[in-house]
């Protein structure tokens, strides 16, 4: 356990030491989204009955920040370690692939939760946000963060160069998060795009998270939970398989 705990501690400190970039910057970005979209659309759009657009937007922004930062943590850490060569320091010790996975994953969830909490704390000054089912909020926050954290580890293992990782972020993560209902309810979309949205697992992450705040959602929170849990399980299996084989790390 000491090996796992040390690796987790190192990964935690790694992002915490540059928290201006890894925590404050994404909180500020979310705040800017809130100010711009909130100002532009407040009073004109009512997504759920009795819920202001600004309030509707906040859980989506918080979850988007959670997902992007959970992904960024493991992926950027592994990428940098591979590029600089200091990955050997964690490959030489007697750490199992499970310990390796758990440490990187927990640090990614940690960063996601810290950033998400930061976004919620800062934006709460602007809107009175209800918290109907706090446990659902916590559950979706952690499970979604874990799924994206695992995907981040896969991306970090797979990428050999910074531009490959950037492509992963810009062409997969950003479209998935932006087109998942952060800024709108999918009910407002045409039936075709509604159907397409249901194939995006990030939609369920945000919808379930939002259910925890408002008690209403576009789809059943249980279905969302099953899909988020299934995504996490599948991505964990993939990550563990890659780590056990030593793919791109031990050759």
């Amino acid at each position: 356990m000491t090996g796992f705990y040390t690796l987790f501690q190192k990964e935690w400190l790694r992002f915490w030491k540059v928290s201006v970039q890894t925590v404050l910057a994404p909180v500020l970005t979310a705040l800017l989204y809130l100010l711009v979209f909130g100002h532009a659309l407040s009073g004109r759009v009512e997504v759920f009955p009795g819920v202001e657009y600004t309030a509707f937007l906040i859980p989506g922004l918080a979850m988007m920040s959670v997902l992007q930062n959970s992904f960024a943590n493991g992926s950027s850490s592994l990428m940098q370690s591979k590029m600089t060569g200091n990955i050997v320091f964690v490959l030489l010790p007697p750490l199992s692939h499970r310990e390796f996975f758990a440490a990187y994953l927990l640090a990614a969830v940690g960063r996601g939760v810290v950033v998400g909490s930061g976004v919620l704390l800062v934006t709460l000054w602007f809107v009175d946000l209800p918290l109907t089912h706090p446990l659902w909020v916590l559950l979706f926050g952690v499970a979604s963060s874990a799924a994206m954290g695992a995907l981040g580890i896969v991306a970090g293992i797979q990428s050999d160069k910074i531009d490959q990782l950037a492509a992963f972020t810009n062409f997969i993560i950003l479209p998935l998060t932006f087109l998942s209902g952060v800024f709108y309810s999918i009910q407002s979309l045409s039936p075709f795009w509604q159907a397409v949205s249901h194939f995006n697992p990030v939609f369920y992450m945000i919808d379930g998270f939002r259910y925890g705040f408002f008690g209403v959602a576009d789809t059943s929170p249980w279905l969302s939970l099953a899909i988020v849990g299934g995504s996490f399980a599948a991505l964990s299996w993939l990550t563990l398989t890659l780590l056990r084989s030593g793919y791109k790390l031990r050759n």
């Binding site: 090996g3 040390t6 400190l13 030491k17 320091f89 030489l92 031990r250 050759n251």
Partner: protein
């Protein structure tokens, strides 16, 4: 007694390329062992397989009797490795780097040993310095310290003195020699053959993924190169002796390669017969570089 390192018919293929084409060797506990070979010979691949940084295509590698794949935890605990590249984690100080490395090996409170290693490597003054701010030589010392945090019985150094100044190189070797005297098994790869000659009790030479020589250093020096005779003469070297010349120097002297010391008399007799005066004469012992060149050319 269990060998410190046992490598049995290890191969490594990258597509069509055979980086290792069936290497077998064994290093006894307490040895100072050298692994030599030109670039691309497979030295780093072999070391990486021992350290678990790479996986063999076939064959078995054991450290202190532990299979590097099947019993990787025990094998890695028994091995300290100093990598060739000057790598470091720019986020942390020297103390943090060593504390993390201890923790990865399951050592929670390792401060006393870390302090001892730091002192031995003359790093105590830099303990709270960020790794980024250290000079290349200091970073190299931290890499050595990182390999030692878990007190491994076997230490592998992959070209540890590449690009290192003379003072640090000597300090490093004093320290490594002491570790060897204390019972640690040392495996060294280096391009500085005089270092290998001075330090290693036994040497393996690799070429194109195969072991082409494996013997005690003194045996290699005796077996593979005779003696060398440097002559400055009053006249040209007689024709029959020309074929023994391996070097013509700017000062007019010639270097001849002879099978052994007894052959010197034959050369002098030939010169007397041809009435060529010997102005200066020097007999040189072969060094490891000569042996290395000879073995590499032959194999």
């Amino acid at each position: 007694m269990t060998p410190a390192i046992e490598i049995v018919d290890v191969t490594k293929r990258y597509g069509e390329l055979h980086a290792l084409a069936g290497v077998s060797l064994s290093v006894e506990a307490g040895e100072f062992f050298g692994l030599l070979g030109p670039n691309g010979a497979g030295k780093t691949t072999l070391i990486s397989i021992l350290a678990g940084l790479n996986r063999a295509s076939s064959g078995v590698a054991r450290i202190m009797g532990h299979d590097v794949v099947g019993a990787y935890r025990e094998a890695r605990r028994a091995l300290g490795m100093v990598p060739q590249e000057l790598v470091f984690d720019p986020f942390f100080t020297v103390r943090e780097t060593l504390t993390f490395q201890s923790g990865y090996f399951g050592l929670r409170d390792n401060r006393a040993w870390i302090d001892e290693v730091l002192e031995n490597l003359d790093l105590t003054a830099k303990v709270d310095t960020n790794m980024r701010a250290l000079s290349g030589g200091m970073k190299r010392r931290v890499l050595v310290a990182q390999a030692l945090v878990h007190k491994p019985p076997v230490i592998v150094l992959d070209e540890p003195t590449a690009g290192v100044d003379v003072e640090l190189r000597q300090a490093l070797w004093r320290f490594i020699r002491r570790l060897n005297r204390d019972g640690h098994t040392i495996v060294l790869t280096t391009h500085y053959l005089e270092e290998a000659e001075a330090l290693c009790g036994r040497i393996a030479m690799l070429k194109q993924g195969r072991v082409v020589a494996l013997d005690r250093t003194e045996n290699l020096l005796q077996l593979h190169a005779g003696c060398q005779l440097v002559l400055r003469l009053g006249a040209a070297l007689p024709e029959p002796l020309q074929q023994k010349v391996v070097e013509r120097r700017d000062d007019g002297s010639v270097r001849l390669l002879l099978p052994d010391h007894a052959a010197v008399e034959g050369i002098l007799a030939a010169l007397r017969e041809a009435r060529v005066a010997v102005l200066e004469m020097e007999i040189l012992q072969p060094d490891l570089e000569d042996v290395f060149v000879q073995i590499m050319n032959r194999s």
